[in-house]
């Protein structure tokens, strides 16, 4: 390694040093600079808190749901998965640019949804889902697909969630989270809310919806002879101290992602069917 470095010319070293210390020196806009700072901060947070050995998640673990309930949630998730795969095929053929976007969003959902975030107000950890952001960028149907892939990898290799409870996890995170995020974003835009604010609301409500549906899944399967509604409310209340601040964090994450794309490549948002504040071609 050292001998390799020593062979580099002085000019190469200076160029590399300049590029690393100042990647976008003069060209960036103020918004772009802000978005870049946000993304750098986010990357630093990922590096600092992203990889502790304790798994902290909303995923329903293996064996918690009785077989009939696990099967039912699988059946509920299947049509959405089929819808997503069909959409992926159609949209990829129509626009070859679409596959890299799905790949990027899928990687983001995978990383975000296995990133335990400490919540000091509750003294616990939980993870954002990334499905609100995914839904407004690639649509709810494809969000179900990328979420399913992420959940499968997590269940297989990261002891995160379970194979038998996969259907329930897909429904709460992929289906409910994405539909809520997408629906809130579209509704907010129609009501004249600014896109960044709409993205914030999408992230916030997709997170809270995911955990509300998880509470419902647990309550419906485990309430026994007691009241299902009561158990649903008790589980929801138990999630609240962690998820209220984490939902707000996810809202900022989604708004930051939207702002970043708007600053760096507004044409991308037009291409996926969303109108940014200022129109512009693909950069």
């Amino acid at each position: 390694m050292n001998s390799h470095c020593s062979r580099k010319s002085k000019k190469d070293r200076n160029d590399a040093k300049r590029a690393l210390s100042n990647p976008f020196p003069r060209e960036r806009t103020q918004g772009g600079a802000c978005a870049l700072r946000l993304s750098t901060l986010f990357a630093a947070c990922v590096l600092i808190i992203g990889f502790p050995p304790i798994v902290c998640a909303m995923h329903i673990s293996e064996g918690i749901l009785p077989a009939p309930w696990a099967g039912l949630w699988f059946l509920v998730s299947l049509p959405f998965l089929a819808w997503g795969l069909r959409d992926l095929h159609i949209r990829s053929e129509r626009d070859p640019f679409f596959k890299p976007l799905v790949g990027l969003v899928g990687a983001a959902v995978f990383i975000i949804s296995c990133m335990p975030v400490p919540v000091p107000t509750a003294g616990t950890c939980s993870h954002p889902c990334g499905t609100g952001m995914a839904a407004i960028l690639i649509g709810p149907s494809l969000t179900v697909v990328v979420t399913s892939v992420a959940l499968t990898l997590q269940a297989l290799f990261l002891a995160h969630g379970g194979l038998t409870t996969m259907g329930a996890d897909i429904v709460s995170m992929g289906v409910a989270g994405s539909l809520a995020g997408y629906g809130v974003f579209q509704l907010a835009r129609r009501l004249g809310v600014a896109p960044v604010t709409a993205a914030f609301l999408a992230g916030l409500l997709s997170d809270w919806t995911t955990y509300a549906v998880t509470s419902f899944e647990l309550a419906s399967a485990l309430h026994g002879s007691g009241s299902m509604l009561k158990m649903f409310l008790v589980i929801g209340a138990a999630f609240a101290p962690t998820q209220i601040p984490l939902g707000i964090f996810e809202g900022f994450l989604t708004a930051g992602a939207w702002r970043f794309i708007q600053a760096r490549r507004p044409g991308l948002l037009e291409r996926v069917g969303k109108q940014p504040e200022k129109s512009g071609g693909i950069a």
């Binding site: 976008f24 060209e27 673990s61 064996g63 640019f97 983001a108 003294g123 290799f157 399967a221 485990l222």
Partner: protein, 93 residues
């Protein structure tokens, strides 16, 4: 020199902040899977089973998390570069 001192100062400030924060919070930082999902499941008589592929053993899970993070970061970075190419006058490393 100024930049090095600033970076060093920031790292020290971050470490000190983290040290005092963690010291002041007397909590195991368990995940909501443990504090909520598994708690209610156990109370209902449905404790979680060991995963089919149990990587939660010693440092094995840390290894797999790092591999997953690296793989996810590589895939994300690959497509990011495709969607957000460097600007024409930006030096290419």
């Amino acid at each position: 020199m100024k930049k090095t001192l600033l970076t060093g100062g920031l790292i020290l400030a971050l470490a000190a902040g983290l040290y005092f924060t963690l010291k002041s919070f007397n909590t195991p930082w368990s995940g909501v899977d443990e504090t909520v999902v598994e708690k209610f499941a156990r109370e209902a008589g449905r404790p979680p089973r060991t995963p089919l592929i149990n990587t939660d053993q010693g440092d094995l899970l840390l290894f797999f998390f790092l591999i997953a993070g690296s793989a996810g970061g590589f895939v994300g970075g690959y497509y990011f570069r495709e969607l957000f190419p460097p600007k024409p006058n930006q030096p290419n490393v």
